[in-house]
């Protein structure tokens, strides 16, 4: 069953992804074991305390909330203790950054720019990665690298502070990071059987503390400029197929360029469940029904239940056309 998330697969030469990313974006990311460890590190570098609240959208998974909890206090409504805001560009669709920036400025909030779902989406021609006080990425959501994330900050004070700590931490944790990836690969292969849940809990419990990037993860990442651009083109093509077929059911994207992780198509929730099951049975693809904020504004969201189509390289364009045909048959 192909899911929204890619599984680990060795493919590249194992070299140079972060260099490629720097060439492509001009930004030098600090590698981490995962997006969550980058997140925790960034929040600590800002000097935030466990009693400081970070404003988060209400649909974050417990893994992210639990990781945030190590450094700050996640909250879903503002208060006098609010010090930061986590802006998550769900499925790679940029949030309304102007509105959020203005709000954050008024409330004196630090912006955590959560780009776990996209590396190359833009707003008004500007890369989303450059926005906010610091940005985190999660490469395993996009590529078949199993684990891996990164952090960038345009604020020199934060960036250098993290970089100093990171070198030392990372050196001491290489084996742990490699072991984490090995464990994840084993979990996904099903060898743990009934014990899987404990292994996942164990792994997700310590991952936010691991700064080192697993060596083997490099082999699941694009290693040439061509591979990187092929992936971008593939995602754009899927977005183009879906948005042309369902122009009124996908998010409006005026002034933004989306290089998506996944694409939401909203509709009647009961029909969506039927379609989702049909696709699962006929095509062995997991197109789940999830909520997406069609306002793309966590401060004033418009959540709608949607079918969600994946975009990684396991989602062949031909298959996506077939999915769309099934959806068309049910949604008029």
């Amino acid at each position: 069953m192909t899911s929204l998330y890619p599984l680990f697969k060795e493919r590249g030469t194992g070299n140079g992804f972060f260099k490629l990313l720097e060439l492509s974006t001009g930004l030098r990311f600090i590698p981490f074991a995962c997006g969550r460890s980058a997140m925790v590190s960034g929040l600590k570098a800002l000097g935030l305390q466990r009693t400081d609240e970070i404003l988060v959208p209400p649909f974050l998974g417990q893994c992210v909330l639990s990781a945030l909890s190590r450094a700050v206090f996640p909250a879903m409504s503002p208060s006098g203790r609010s010090r930061a805001i986590l802006v998550y560009h769900q499925f790679g669709f940029p949030q309304d950054i102007r509105a959020i920036e203005s709000y954050a400025h008024d409330k004196n909030l630090t912006i955590l720019n959560d780009c776990a779902n996209t590396l190359f989406s833009c707003t008004n021609g500007n890369s989303l990665l450059e926005w906010g006080d610091f940005t985190i990425i999660s490469l395993s959501k996009l590529y078949s690298c199993g684990l891996g994330g990164g952090l960038y900050s345009r604020r020199k004070d934060i960036y250098e502070n993290i970089l100093d700590d990171h070198r030392e931490l990372s050196d001491g944790q290489r084996e742990r990071a490699d072991l984490a990836l090995e464990t994840l690969i084993k979990i996904n292969s099903g060898v743990y059987g009934a014990e899987t849940v404990y292994e996942i809990n164990g792994l997700y419990g310590y991952l936010p503390d691991v700064a080192a990037f697993p060596e083997k993860s490099h082999y699941g990442l694009p290693s040439t400029e061509e591979e990187l651009h092929d992936d971008i083109t593939h995602r754009k093509n899927i977005w183009s197929i879906v948005s042309n077929l369902f122009p009124d059911r996908v998010p409006e994207c005026e002034n933004i360029e989306v290089i998506p992780f996944a694409i939401p198509i909203f509709g009647d929730p009961e029909k969506l469940e039927v379609i989702s099951n049909k696709i699962r049975n006929e095509l062995s693809l997991d197109v789940p029904v999830l909520h997406f904020d069609f306002a793309r504004n966590m401060l004033n969201p418009d959540y709608r239940q949607s079918l969600v189509i994946g975009c990684h390289d396991g989602w062949d364009e031909g298959l996506v056309v077939k999915i769309c045909e099934i959806i068309k048959g049910h949604i008029k």
């Binding site: 417990q62 909330l65 639990s66 206090f73 879903m76 009961e270």
Partner: protein, 336 residues
């Protein structure tokens, strides 16, 4: 579908049936907790409009807690004291389509009741386990016009290996627990070794801590009855020299446990680690009883937390586990 309210002679039996059968029925839905609620809210509760939904075959399809209180402005609201009342829970065994039908019926029925009784609002909370166990992955109450006011709670998977549980305890707490364990003993009081006099230590400590008895003796006795009936357990910590110094109550049922309340001798220094020791032992006791999740409770009740509330929240987070979204919502009913 048929509804059965609290005045009906079959209500208690049907509620109990639903409580035993419906997945996600945490201790907060138990008949024993309802009895306790009635006692502690005896002077504030305006009416108990809770109801049971019966399927066509007469089975309990859902249980819906619905307590009516006056708010600060004197208007009637469905809630739990000053907090959110537990949301309806529905039996999923009848299939998704039927589930949705029952859900729609319940929320329309609540709205009808609210209009009839001039209730202004309904504040409801979905237990954290609903998300973790995959029954609700979003705040479904927003589909029925509720305003999302979600918060977070801390849930500990108590089936984990004790070494894993210990490794997740905050470092500074480990030394406090070890320190407290050197000078204190503890006992876990449950249905197996129930002892009224030992349970009474809770009330004695409560009195010592607050300097007065702040609630009825009956409410304490109902707590002890929960222990006697196998729906709660207590961790009693004894100082080797001065005797009982703290008592901590944990509700449990259907594989879920909730850290409910505690009473600690105020003479103890803050860094004595007694509360830490008791919660740690509570976690191990829950594990030995086969309980799946220990819910440390909501971490943020109101948006503006006092320093004391924040301290309590940090304490609850210090024993590891998962920080989980607690879906909460308020619906304001239009007056006719």
């Amino acid at each position: 579908m048929k509804t059965i309210h609290t005045g009906d002679k079959n209500f208690n039996a049907l509620w109990e049936q639903g409580f035993r059968a419906i997945p996600g029925a945490t201790p907060m839905y138990s008949p024993a907790t309802r009895e306790y609620d009635h006692e502690i809210f005896s002077t504030q509760l305006k009416s108990d409009d809770s109801f049971v939904v019966l399927s066509a075959s007469g089975e309990t399809a859902a249980v819906v807690p619905l307590y009516c209180f006056r708010d600060e402005e004197g208007a009637l609201e469905y809630r739990y004291g000053r907090e959110y009342v537990r949301a309806p829970i529905i039996n999923v065994s009848s299939g998704l389509k039927n589930y949705k039908k029952i859900q729609k019926f319940i929320f329309e029925y609540i709205e009808g009741l609210a209009h009839k009784k001039r209730v202004r609002a309904h504040k409801a909370v979905v237990e954290g386990v609903e998300l973790l166990e995959g029954r609700h992955y979003y705040n479904y109450m927003t589909d029925f016009g509720y305003i999302d006011e979600s918060s977070i709670c801390q849930l500990i998977d108590s089936t984990s290996d004790p070494r894993d549980l210990w490794s997740n305890v905050r470092k500074s707490y480990k030394s406090l627990i070890n320190k407290a364990a050197k000078t204190h003993t503890f006992e876990s009081i449950s249905t197996d070794n129930y002892n009224f006099n030992k349970c009474e230590q809770y009330r004695n400590l409560h009195f010592r801590a607050s300097g007065k008895q702040t609630r009825s003796t009956e409410s304490f006795h109902l707590m002890y009855k929960m222990i006697e009936d196998g729906r709660a357990f207590m961790i009693l910590v004894n100082d080797k020299d001065i005797g009982p110094v703290s008592a901590h109550l944990f509700y449990h049922s259907n594989g879920y446990s909730l850290y409910a309340s505690s009473a600690v001798d105020p003479r103890l220094p803050l860094d004595a680690g007694i509360g830490h020791l008791a919660v740690w032992q509570g976690l191990l006791t829950a594990r030995s009883m086969g309980i799946r999740y220990l819910d440390m409770g909501q971490l943020r009740i109101d948006s503006e937390m006092t320093a004391k509330e924040m301290k309590i929240a940090l304490f609850k987070k210090g024993f590891g586990g998962k920080t989980v979204t607690v879906f909460r919502g308020t619906k304001y009913f239009k007056s006719e």
